[in-house]
């Protein structure tokens, strides 16, 4: 039964039907959560004891950085599924996630730079955390160009999946960079094992912003996957019915 369920969901047609149904719910819920989180974070939380108001960019920077790494993990997972079970939908998803991942990584880098000017006194430093995030950004762009440089889509899917797996080694490096090396970037404020180093009055809106931002990014992934599925399956009969 589980097998049947997976096979059904793995068909692009069923996937599109399901996400079409869920899309508006996800979009409006996460948009309202994010707007509330931004209002909460910008106006209702106190300022930081050393950074003043400039810390408030955390409500964009942290969700964007978190999502940029999570999306890559999602891509790696989908690539493994594609390589092992040859599920076409996962190959489409890998290609669909890449541009969204590039976008969120870019937001993380830019928001970090903006925060760096008043805090560190520089907008850029060749610091392990920043370099590994820059590599993630370049990798997303590289994955997109790799896939689009092939004329044969099946071949492109395979090479893309392999390269995504090879590149997944960067994710633990980003995560651990602040522990393994002396970096300008501070170490993690929120860890599983310890009490958060962020005051609760700033932490709750941060969680809310992470949830809202994640939902909005999921919406972008849905839109992107819709485009790529319809593009790749355009000769199938169900697409004509769907459109």
């Amino acid at each position: 039964m589980i097998k049947k369920f997976i096979h059904q969901f793995a068909s692009p047609k069923t996937y599109l039907k399901q996400v079409d149904r869920a899309y508006s719910y996800i979009f409006f819920t996460s948009l309202s959560i994010y707007l509330i989180a931004i209002f909460w974070g910008l106006f209702l939380t106190p300022e930081d004891f050393v950074q003043g108001h400039s810390y408030r960019i955390i409500y964009l920077h942290v969700p964007a950085s978190f999502i940029s790494q999570s999306l890559y993990l999602g891509m790696a997972f989908a690539s493994a599924i594609f390589l092992i079970w040859k599920v076409k939908l996962s190959a489409y998803l890998v290609r669909s996630i890449a541009p969204i991942g590039a976008m969120t990584t870019f937001i993380a880098l830019v928001s970090g730079s903006i925060w760096g000017i008043p805090t560190w006194g520089t907008w850029w430093a060749w610091d392990a955390r920043i370099i590994s995030t820059l590599i993630l950004f370049i990798m997303y762009l590289g994955l997109i160009s790799l896939h689009d440089s092939f004329t044969n889509n099946e071949k492109a899917d395979k090479f893309l999946a392999i390269l995504v797996l090879v590149g997944s080694v960067n994710i633990p490096i980003i995560k651990m960079s602040v522990e393994w090396w002396s970096t300008l970037h501070q170490s993690a404020s929120i860890t599983i094992t310890q009490k958060p180093a962020i005051d609760p009055s700033m932490l709750y809106p941060l969680f809310a912003s992470a949830i809202g931002f994640t939902g909005l990014v999921v919406c972008l992934v849905i839109l992107s996957s819709k485009f790529h599925i319809l593009d790749r399956e355009r000769n199938k009969s169900w697409v004509k019915d769907y459109v």
């Binding site: 004891f49 090396w181 002396s182």
Partner: protein, 134 residues
């Protein structure tokens, strides 16, 4: 699981293991060259030529900051060893005694002549007037 899928699963793990091993070896070869800065203790262990640009990070030693117009002298410490830093220019807002700092410059006779001072922020975020819980 069919034999062919098992084979593919193994391939996936082989890719992961080899890319992990490859990057481990790269980082092993680079050793500490990836560090953004040295601590004062590391600086004492190594011999660094005068003409090499270095970065030293640590805390600004309490009570060591001496200002003379735009010129500022202070000690960077890791609470084991300290090193004197001289800098002419504007320091970041977050620069203060007892907080993290990174100095970029040249070492000469045990004094670092800094070209740039960066403030390092720690992982603590809290409203003003609250004590740091340790």
């Amino acid at each position: 699981m069919k034999a062919i899928r098992q084979k593919r699963l193994i391939t996936v793990f082989v890719i992961l293991i080899f890319s992990g091993l490859g990057s481990f070896l790269i980082f092993k070869a680079l050793d500490s060259n990836l560090d953004f800065f040295f601590t004062p203790s590391e600086l004492i262990e190594r011999t660094i030529p005068d003409n090499k640009r270095i970065k030293i990070g640590g805390m600004v030693l309490e009570g060591s900051v001496i200002r003379d117009k735009t010129n500022i002298t202070f000690q960077i410490t890791d609470y084991k060893h300290s090193i004197a830093v001289n800098f002419d220019g504007v320091v970041p807002d977050l620069f203060k005694e007892g907080s993290g700092v990174v100095a970029l410059g040249y070492l000469d006779n045990g004094i670092v002549y800094a070209e740039q001072i960066l403030a390092k922020h720690d992982e603590n975020y809290m409203p003003p007037g609250m004590d740091i819980e340790k």
